[in-house]
Homo-oligomer: 340 residues x 2
DNA sequence: CTGTTAGCGCATTCAA
DNA sequence: TTGAATGCGCTAACAG
């Protein structure tokens, strides 16, 4: 069986001191006579004693734990963001719970409760309900209750009438950069493919696309706006539909790099070469994108800054400081070879 | 400021009962008069009261928390595995800490300590030091100390002389299936590319490759064994080297799908068509692999079973049951179009 | 069925 | 500089 857990009492007894003194050397919050200290430290080492953080948390009313709620860690966007955030949180002494909701609202609720019960000091919410254009009232209400108890930050999303700080990358501006690039390369017939209707990341990008197209006086052809979802398979589907149209665009913006990959594949199956016959632009700059032939021209979200800022804001809230209601992280155009 | 946390004492006072009674309705471990129950439940609802799990953990000496130590959640292998594991853990009432060590031994050590202090009930260790063929003694020793305090399972790795259960997928058999497939397609000149020397996943696969080649009496040409690492870039590098050899193989096994992708790209740059000129076989069956032209023939590790089994074994250990020292999960050949 | 008490491991008063 | 006592929030005896 496992070692019975050794506590400060055991250490104290062995050192012939009181538990309080052991606690003092552990925290360093009070002076201890050097010899006593040395003796205690030796015994701590000997037993490989580590203080029970749970007990401390109970006392301090601070758990030094953060929760992340996200749809699916398997998606490069979320995994990269979590990686950066977690690393920054650790630097500040916080451990991270990762909760995959699988995009289910019930799971989100369950995890919200669990995180509350575990007494996390803060929650980072990504995707899911905060990406819905019209979320049900109960879902908003639930989160409203949560933020009364623990600080929450929203990344790349929002919820109407919810007073929680938002950290988001400038997706709209990213789309505009893409449109500008296409125009600069001489394209005038530009489509927008993929993305899920009702999901903010799609609606936002589409709105920016329409705005930019109209601003520069280019035709906004509804036939070339074909939503579906954000997967590779979706990219294929969307090309099948595009091919049915009277006329093909010469450049297409895709809702993300997955859609772009599916699109490129499917275009080639139909004999279109990318970028010579048609230019394809992505979004997100996933790890594979630079290698996916011919190399996808895309927008990089600044994951490091996005993650770090989210944690920064969250920690500030935890410390009771005032924080920005919304922080926008710029996006960057990555030139590669899928746009000519 | 935040709501002062309400406790069972507050609930008890408001309901004119003792804290113990409130606790009883919370746990359901003892009968409570229906009316009392109703009253208490109402007050709990009213305050949205949730019991402090930290306090419970302190009492039960069980935190219902699990820790995962892994190099990098951004890698599809790890993220998929974590996703499956976490979901299964949750079904059993456990929350999951995810710790990205970035393949640094110091980070692994730090996280090990943190997890111990947080009183996790068990640890899943993936990659990092347990994937080294010859790890330093201190690293083994450290883990030996850890397993004295908390159950640990090792996934797809091991540490000499460490008494911790191992769950691994049958990588060796996977390689053999690949070799068999190549032979069946008429190949006799087969190479093995990518992978990092000194990392078990490479050494293991290479050994299986050599064994199988010799078993069927095929030439084991050392020129066609070119290690590097497990990245896409590595696949490109490795092809550059392969092209320098006197003679090209007609089929290559790659250490994983990333290497295969890089290899396919680079081969095409040199005018080799996959699979008509050369067959390329991968390993891991990542999400992109089916879409990466021409569709990568590869080996799927059964992530769901791998993850679930790891958690199962860990939970059994936590409950003090005897467990298998080693569990092997079979791998599956996925036929696609990169092997002709 | 319900209340009282004690203790999980720790840090912090307050005295000495 | 050190020790004794207290309480963080909860549950499990033990009485009643």
């Amino acid at each position: 069986m496992k070692n019975k857990n050794v506590t400060i009492y055991d250490i104290a007894k062995e050192a012939n001191v009181s538990p309080a003194t052991v606690s003092r050397v552990l925290t360093g919050n009070a002076r201890v006579r050097p010899e006593t200290m040395k003796k205690i430290v030796a015994i701590i080492e000997k037993h490989q004693f580590r203080p029970n953080e749970l007990a401390r948390s109970l006392l301090y009313k601070k758990s030094k734990m953060l929760g992340f709620i996200l749809p699916d860690i398997t998606s490069p966007f979320f995994s990269t963001l979590v990686l950066k955030s977690e690393s920054y949180a650790l630097k500040n002494g916080y451990s991270s719970f990762v909760c995959n909701s699988m995009n289910s609202r019930e799971m989100e609720s369950k995890y919200l409760q669990t995180l509350l019960e575990k007494q996390v000091d803060g929650i980072v919410f990504l995707g899911g309900r905060i990406n819905n254009v019209a979320p049900p009232k109960e879902q908003i209400e639930e989160l409203k209750q949560v933020i009364k108890r623990v600080p929450v930050v929203l990344v790349n999303g929002s919820l109407p009438d919810l007073d929680a700080p938002i950290i988001r990358s400038d997706e709209g501006d990213g789309v505009k950069q893409l449109v500008q690039l296409a125009i600069q390369k001489g394209h005038t017939k530009i489509g927008f493919l993929g993305g899920t209707i009702g999901v903010t990341s799609y609606e936002l990008k589409l709105a920016a696309f329409e705005e930019e197209m109209k601003k520069v006086g280019l035709p906004f052809n509804k036939e070339w706006i074909i939503p579906d979802s954000f997967s590779i398979a979706s990219g294929e589907i969307v090309i099948e539909k595009l091919i049915q149209t009277k006329e093909m665009p010469t450049a297409i913006l895709c809702a993300n790099d997955y859609v772009a990959m599916g699109a490129i594949n499917q275009l080639q199956k139909h004999g279109y070469e990318v970028p010579t016959d048609i230019s394809v632009l992505g979004f997100d700059d996933m790890y594979i994108s630079q290698y996916f032939p011919p190399g996808i021209t895309t927008i990089s979200q600044n994951y490091e800054r996005l993650g770090q800022t989210a944690i920064e804001v969250l920690l500030n809230m935890i410390e009771g400081k005032e924080v920005e209601r919304e922080t926008i992280i710029p996006t960057t155009l990555i030139h590669r070879h899928s746009c000519l």
